[in-house]
């Protein structure tokens, strides 16, 4: 139930269920969302967006809009100067990557439905929207390419001048990298007497769908630009504005006030932000733009959208010998800020927790006439984890053993850590045995397997499926030098400052800017623990580049493991700085002092001084040792040596109605290992939210385009975010193998639930239907898809080599599979 804190010196703060500091304002409606900001003379923008996925713009008539009431300006691309810039692509994964320049306002051609064609500025948002309707744009429709399957044929081109839809090819081969053997050899060996599985999985396109629509305000005062934005990345955004507009960083202040969710969806320098900046600069007035939900679904970036062709080789008793991945990733119409690199992040995780002797990853990124794709909760790791966890189930079925047995046979044993994987990562710590044992016990695994066998034996129309996901991920982005080696355009360090105020309170400044993760609370706990001051006395400041001048922001579960460690170091520096001052004031030698509970005491006496008293004395500076600065401030920058690797075992029970195809989740439990836990309450919340986001991919969410490139799921009526009534309560627990790459021993948790749950759920659905010859159901597993899989058969891929068998939980024995071949969906 509760976390085990493996720290030797257990404090009252670390591991404590602190209620969140940020809640006071959020539950009373005293929140500062960007859209709440209204400034005198402020103008409001509305965007004119293309209804076509691909078209030439042959004319734009703005006259009707210009003369309508309260309108100040109507601009098309030709009306902007160069300072508008082009959107940033920060991760050219190969030197020859094809990446068309992405102007924020389309110049003479639109390349996805929703692309901005013109901008209206008016004195009210309503007037701007009304006028936007009056802008007349003439389009000459061009053929659009929407799906990956079509795009790779290069028959219809998303950008005809590029001559191809293929943006880049990124390859990793363990034989070449020296981290493992040759996959082709492994496969050819397995073809003689082993098992070769070929499967194709689709990662459907998803929409992050943060609840707060994106909003941005820019106030140009003199030469200074203050930008408020609902963004995850105020620091990167400030850099991006400087880089794209030529205005120096010192003249740009970016504030991410309260931000209502992100999930990767708010880590762009968006066209809308660039337009607001340019308009404020041009009009000399504060400007605001807040998107509607429909605009958000249409034009804020999407996630996933990959097709994975997998070939796995194994011995006939299920020891994996090699894995080959051929992956196509749909980038959409442009290469987004890190969009090209998302599948590359996945490359390191296809081998998951397993000891694969040979591995090859071939990734092709592809351009289409759809909204650009980029990081979405987990970014690359969910896609990889899904593929391998589905494959391990398939392998278990082929060998005829329980899926947990196959995993155990192939995973890295506890005593083998640290372990360098075939993808070249070194996992510092982990204990898959412990997490799995605990999960099995929580779940009542054997009992549920018995119930499943009974239902199978009775031909129950409601079949029970048990889904397993033994996941790991790499988080804590990232060691800067590793990012550099992958041609990523930025670093991964984090910055922190700790300042003691004259009244003895503590100001903490972090570059990790939050959007719901509870940084103010967790970071207060860390600093209170380190300095021995009350939790209430710590104030965490973030999300404003004028206060938190440096940082790399929040994504990739990095805030605590990178930013938290920076804080620890900054706090330690304050203590170092304070110690000689304390000795001086106490008229003792430094060696005679001991620090505990926020107080320096002279050993063996009752003489002492609390940190707060010292802060007051330093502020007065009446009596400081010679050569000492009159402050107790410090800063630290932490760049980790390595990622960290949360892991866990998730088990899911699904009931599948074999007559209607309806699926119902009955039970979901997980045992995660995220190292030491700072605040169990916050961690539980992150896990719950993550689980539902991953379950939603398995069961409901799907961003669907029609053949012409119109987004069919363009509102919350069609894009099915789960509601409370769709979901269940979860049972979660933890095992603890502390991370060795930060002194807190913590690992990231923000993405774990999402990464792990998708395969757990689909494995459960397929497990329920395996006796009916079903080997795969494409996501989302809608009743229709499940029904078709049952009635039309779904082979889900090819097997060669040893005779196919399947595990029969009623006998624990294997038998031949009676399989109806059919199309994998």
């Amino acid at each position: 139930m509760t976390a085990v804190d493996a720290r030797p010196d257990k404090s009252s703060e670390i591991g404590r269920d602190r209620r969140r500091k940020e809640d006071a304002r959020l539950i009373t409606g005293r929140t500062r969302w960007t859209d709440n900001i209204n400034l005198p003379g402020m103008l409001h923008l509305a965007m004119v967006r293309s209804p076509f996925a691909h078209a030439r713009i042959t004319g734009i008539d703005t006259s009707g809009a210009e003369t309508s009431e309260n309108v100040v300006a109507v601009l098309a691309a030709k009306d902007f100067d160069e300072s508008l810039g082009v959107c940033i692509n920060a991760w050219p994964i190969t030197p020859d990557q094809k990446a068309p320049a992405h102007p924020p306002v389309a110049v003479d051609r639109v390349t996805f439905a929703g692309e901005i064609v013109a901008v209206v500025a008016a004195r009210s948002a309503a007037a701007a929207r009304d006028a936007a309707e009056l802008v007349e744009v003439d389009y000459e429709e061009l053929p659009a390419v929407v799906s990956l399957e079509e795009a790779v044929k290069d028959e219809v081109l998303a950008h005809p001048d590029l001559g191809t839809n293929k943006s880049a090819l990124w390859v990793f081969d363990s034989a070449e990298a020296g981290t493992g053997g040759s996959v082709d050899e492994a496969i050819s060996t397995a073809q003689n007497g082993g098992i070769v599985l070929e499967r194709t999985y689709r990662q459907q396109r998803l929409i992050p769908a943060f609840m707060e629509p994106r909003s941005v305000v820019c106030d140009p005062t003199g030469e200074q630009f203050t930008v408020w934005s609902a963004t995850q990345i105020p620091h990167i955004l400030r850099f991006a504005f400087a880089a794209t507009t030529g205005v120096p960083e010192s003249k740009i202040r970016v504030i991410a006030p309260d931000v209502g969710g992100g999930f990767g969806g708010k880590l762009q320098q968006t066209p809308e932000e660039m337009i607001v900046f340019a308009m404020a600069r041009r009009l000399g007035k504060p400007v605001k733009y807040t998107e509607t939900r429909s605009e958000s679904l249409l034009a804020a970036h999407h996630g996933r959208d990959q097709i994975q062709k997998l070939t796995l080789s194994a011995t006939k008793d299920g020891q994996v010998t090699g894995l080959k991945v051929e992956l196509d990733a749909n980038l959409g119409a442009y290469v987004a800020i890190v969009g090209g690199g998302v599948p590359v992040l996945g490359a390191f995780m296809f081998n998951a927790i397993y000891k694969f002797p040979a591995y090859q990853f071939n990734c092709q990124t592809v351009l289409t006439n759809t909204t650009w794709t980029d990081a979405y909760r987990g970014a690359g790791r969910p896609e990889a984890t899904y593929a391998i966890e589905r494959l391990m189930d398939e392998l278990a079925a082929e060998v005829g053993v329980d899926p947990l047995e196959i995993r155990e046979k192939n995973w890295i044993k506890h005593e083998e850590f640290p372990f360098t994987t075939v993808a070249g990562l070194t996992y510092d710590s982990g204990n898959y045995e412990a997490a799995t044992a605990k999960a099995k016990e929580m779940f009542g695994y054997d009992e549920l397997r018995r119930e499943q066998a009974e239902r199978r034996a009775n031909n129950d129309p409601i079949q029970l499926g048990i889904g397993i996901s033994t996941f790991t991920e790499m988080c804590g982005l990232a060691p800067s030098r590793v990012l550099g080696s992958l041609d990523y355009g930025a670093g991964g360090w984090e910055h922190a400052e700790v300042r003691l105020t004259p009244t003895g309170k503590v100001e903490v400044i972090t570059g990790a800017s939050a959007h719901g993760q509870g940084h103010e609370t967790a970071f207060s706990q860390i600093v209170a623990d380190r300095l021995g001051v009350p939790f209430e006395d710590v104030e965490v400041l973030h999300g404003d580049t004028q206060i938190a001048a440096k940082g790399y922001d929040t994504y990739g579960s990095r805030s605590l493991v990178v930013g938290g460690e920076a804080l620890v170091r900054a706090a330690d520096k304050v203590l170092e700085k304070a110690k000689p001052i304390a000795a001086h004031l106490l008229e003792a030698s430094v060696d005679d002092l001991e620090f505990s509970g926020g107080r320096w005491a002279v050993k063996g006496t009752d003489q002492g001084m609390a940190i707060g008293e010292l802060a007051t004395a330093v502020f007065a500076a009446h009596n400081l040792p010679d050569g000492v600065e009159a402050n107790l401030d410090s800063e630290a920058t932490f760049d980790p040596d390595n990622f960290n690797f949360p892991h866990g075992t998730h088990l899911c029970a699904m009931e599948v109605d074999t007559e209607t195809g309806a699926v119902k989740m009955r039970r979901y439990i997980c045992c995660d290992d995220i190292g030491n836990i700072i605040n169990p309450l916050i961690v539980a919340g992150q896990v719950h939210g993550g689980l539902v986001q991953g379950i939603a991919q398995a069961l409901w969410e799907d961003a669907v385009y029609d053949d012409a490139g119109t987004l069919v799921s363009g509102s919350f009526v069609d894009y099915l975010l789960p509601t409370a009534a769709d979901t269940i309560s979860f049972e979660i627990d933890h095992t603890t193998s502390p991370a060795t790459t930060n002194t807190l021993g913590t690992k990231g948790v923000g993405e774990a639930g999402t990464i792990a749950s998708t395969p757990a759920v689909v494995n459960a659905v397929v497990d329920a239907l395996r006796p009916l010859g079903v080997h795969d159901v494409a996501m989302p597993c809608t009743p229709e898809r499940v029904w078709r899989a049952i009635n039309e058969g779904s082979a889900g891929g090819e097997t060669t080599g040893a005779a196919a068998a399947h595990f029969d939980p009623s006998t624990g024995m294997s038998g031949n599979v009676d399989r109806t071949e059919g199309d994998a969906q």
Binding site: I27, N36, F210, Q686, A724, I732
Partner: protein
């Protein structure tokens, strides 16, 4: 322009509004009551939920003129309406959301709290599935609803401590 009067969070207001003004726009832009937020344009998300004469409504689905002569309570005036607001000056439902970590980014939270207050008013001891159905019109992308359900249970006196938010064995078994 149409003249309307209403009582918003205990304050009497009279204004001339364009007939097409939505209640949520009037609250946010006209009165500066920015605690109530807009999450969608299809009346699906529930972020804008307020109480109109004591019942929850999606304020993006009501015209300001329709609220003429009504009592409107938003998240900002909720605590004042509670007969049993806590020492901290919070409504028990607000307290419950804080206690059970029923929010993360907090964007859905005002609407979620207003809806939950209405739910408890109608059904003081709702079962887990009644809670889930009762807040079905309010979307949350952060919490997975788990702790929101706990918060409503807590507010209704069915949960003794927030620590119950981490596991839910009994309730899940009963499903």
């Amino acid at each position: 322009m149409t003249r309307i009067s209403m009582n918003v969070d205990g304050m009497k207001v009279t204004d001339d509004v364009a007939p097409r003004t939505l209640l949520v726009q009037y609250l946010r832009e006209g009165l500066g009551k920015t605690g109530t937020v807009i999450g969608c344009d299809t009346s699906n998300c529930g972020a804008c939920t307020v109480h109109l004469d004591g019942d929850s409504v999606k304020s993006c689905n009501v015209l300001a003129v329709q609220a003429d002569g009504c009592e409107v309570t938003t998240i900002e005036g909720l605590a004042a309406t509670a007969t049993d607001s806590s020492e901290s000056g919070l409504h028990p439902m607000q307290e419950a959301f804080r206690e059970c970590h029923g929010l993360q980014c907090g964007f859905c939270t005002p609407g979620m709290i207003m809806q939950s207050v209405d739910l408890i008013k109608r059904n003081p001891q709702p079962s887990e599935s009644e809670i889930r159905e009762g807040i079905e019109g309010n979307l949350c992308r952060c919490t997975g609803y788990h702790n929101i359900v706990r918060a409503v249970q807590y507010a209704s006196g069915q949960l003794a401590t927030a620590a119950d938010t981490r596991g839910a064995t009994e309730e899940v078994d009963a499903l």
